[in-house]
């Protein structure tokens, strides 16, 4: 730890209950090194926060460290030389060895140099189900997506929203991607997003996925909330049957004092295709002039990957740690399921790594419209989807 205490401003968009608790762990650990974590939380979502972060960096007033989803979000900032090269540190601390799965670091690497510190693994492919809701509707808790769809009418009859999808565009877009991996399979996902195969995207296999998405939007039509955690809260309170959401939703269940398996059920890969995408959050370190601060940046990077911090953070956040060498005894049911899948190596990259923000945004526009507009046909949606894939970069 450096001798002098240095203030380091860290920006992120973790402001929900579970997220804030998790980030507090980082802050605590960093403060313990003798430096000071200056919290720069920006509420909203990554969409609100990122422009602000980017303006600050390009505007010449960079923060000490900032959260991004690792992948292509910061690509150009790195190319423009605005981000600090962490390769030296990574070699010293042998990140390549401790970070698991390996593909995580790929997202941080550009031209062979490492620019970010991954802090967790987030997988989107989860279906969260409220046990109480199904009990009320008098149907058993489903084991996979298909059973779930079948149970929808019963839920509806009981005055329960079958599926909660918040109004923010990334939620519907993400739900579709999950359906694509679950219903279409990992290969289909890669063909569309990695290979950008527009023909395939317009084909019958993806049509099946759109059919499922059509079911989903019908099930979700009565959701009147915006934020994802409000939607999660519908599930927690039994007002909704379930939600397709990333593992971070687990934090909300935890804050609400619910217990996996008893109060709620989680189905990775919607119970159809049990894989985990290695998306996640990472911290980038803008290039600073101040030597003191640069030192503090290194301290922070170390802290983030520290095994103890990793455990504390990920338990609160509900995500998976980036190190394979730590023991998560305290992990709950769902996390354990995730760790198992991870151990089996059923991993795949996620859209943050494969697609540019531009394409992501177009996708979001399409699916938020699709979910909100019942009269938009499946065919039209698929055609537009294929167009987006065709022009994706």
């Amino acid at each position: 730890a450096p001798a002098a205490a240095t203030d380091l401003e860290v920006t992120h968009w973790w402001t929900s209950g579970g997220e804030a608790a998790a980030v507090a762990e980082f802050a605590k650990a960093f403060d313990a090194t003798g430096n000071r974590w200056v919290d720069g939380a920006i509420a909203g979502s990554g969409g609100t926060a990122r422009p602000i972060m980017i303006s600050r960096i390009t505007g010449g007033d960079p923060m000490g460290a900032t959260q991004f989803n690792h992948g292509r979000q910061a690509e150009e900032l790195v190319q423009a030389g605005l981000m600090r090269d962490l390769t030296e540190l990574a070699t010293r601390d042998k990140w390549t060895e401790i970070v698991q799965p390996k593909s995580l670091l790929d997202g941080c690497t550009l031209d062979g140099k490492i620019y970010c510190v991954p802090v967790n693994i987030h997988s989107w492919q989860w279906l969260w189900l409220s046990n109480a809701a199904f009990e009320k509707a008098g149907v058993p808790v489903p084991k996979n997506w298909n059973e779930y769809v079948a149970a929808a009418p019963a839920l509806e009859k009981a005055g329960i929203i079958p599926l909660a999808v918040g109004g923010q565009p990334w939620q519907s877009s993400g739900a579709f991607d999950v359906l694509l991996t679950a219903v279409g399979g990992t290969d289909a996902f890669l063909k569309v997003y990695r290979d950008k195969d527009a023909e395939f995207a317009a084909g019958p296999e993806v049509a099946k996925v759109f059919k499922a998405a059509d079911d989903a939007r019908k099930m979700a039509k009565n959701t009147n909330v915006q934020d994802w955690n409000q939607a999660t809260n519908l599930v927690i309170s039994g007002k909704a049957g379930g939600q397709i959401m990333g593992d971070w939703a687990q934090g909300e269940f935890r804050v609400a004092g619910q217990i996996a398996g008893k109060d709620y059920t989680c189905l990775p890969g919607l119970g159809l295709n049990e894989v985990i995408a290695t998306g996640g959050d990472a911290f980038y370190f803008p290039l600073l002039q101040d030597a003191e601060k640069s030192k503090a940046q290194e301290a922070l990077a170390e802290t983030l990957l520290d095994p103890k911090t990793q455990v504390a953070f990920n338990l609160k956040k509900g995500s998976l740690p980036v190190r394979g060498d730590i023991d998560l005894k305290a992990a709950n049911d769902c996390m354990k399921k995730g760790l198992d899948i991870l151990a089996k190596g059923s991993v795949m990259p996620w859209t943050d790594q494969l697609l540019s923000q531009d394409t992501q945004k177009q996708k979001e526009d399409l699916f938020s419209e699709f979910f909100a507009k019942p009269d938009m046909t499946v065919e039209e949606a698929q055609k537009r989807f294929a167009d987006i894939v065709a022009s994706a970069d």
Partner: protein, 297 residues
Amino acid sequence: MSKSERPNQLFRNLNAKVASIPMVLTALVIFVGGSAWTVLYSFTNSKLLPRLNFVGLDQYYRLWSTPRWLVSIENLLVYGVLSLVFSLVIGFILAALLDQKIRFEDTFRTIFLYPFALSFIVTGLVWQWLLNPEFGIQGVVRGLGWESFSFDPLYNSDIVIYGILIAALWQGTGLIMCLMLAGLRGIDEDIWKAARVDGIPTLKTYLFIIIPMMRPVFITALVIIAAGIVKVYDLVVAQTSGGPGIASEVPAKYVYDYMFFAQNLGQGFAASTMMLLSVVVVIVPWAYLEFGGKKRG
């Protein structure tokens, strides 16, 4: 007789010119320079950072084939026309009512004006809440026993823009009313007397005599409303974030989203340029007539 030596014109009224430097700089560097820069980069494929990598009109082709942009334009037109009409009409009617030598004029005026003091964020939040079908107006009316009552503009794609309009009018009409009131007060008392002697009913007097006389006020009001319309952004973000789906998207939000969320500056700049273009086409000739041509006053 020889001509007198005329001193250098540049240095006459030097102080006035020096004092105008901030204005000149703002006009040239920020408004002209910034716009020109934006237009220039709209022909590039800049992503997160501006790069001079020209791609011709590509961004514009894409822009005009994007459903969200088309929806935004349509929304802006609907919202713009309606908010223009309603602001003027409501503002004028309120002003006319207040101009009837009523009691408690100050109180009423303050009530109509106070929303203007609030930010769009606040307005958006409050109305989002009031229009929430579960516990907002709809919920309350249903709670009173009228079960079939339905009023949920923010959750209905077809009418969501009207929900935004309600909030916008709530916030903005007060100022328009103030302008109109000032205008009404400026009208020669004798005109009213002449109309009374002529036996012209009040309504007709307003329609055929007073309103045509208030042209300058209407123009000022128009400028203020129109400037607000083009810029409408915060309200939409705070109230609906453009939803449901993309039903309440507006151009300014498209620009912002594509520049920053989608990290596609080129696309955002192309959209900005389109907005700029429409503003310029409508405003410049008018502004020149209104403010440039005249000498004083």
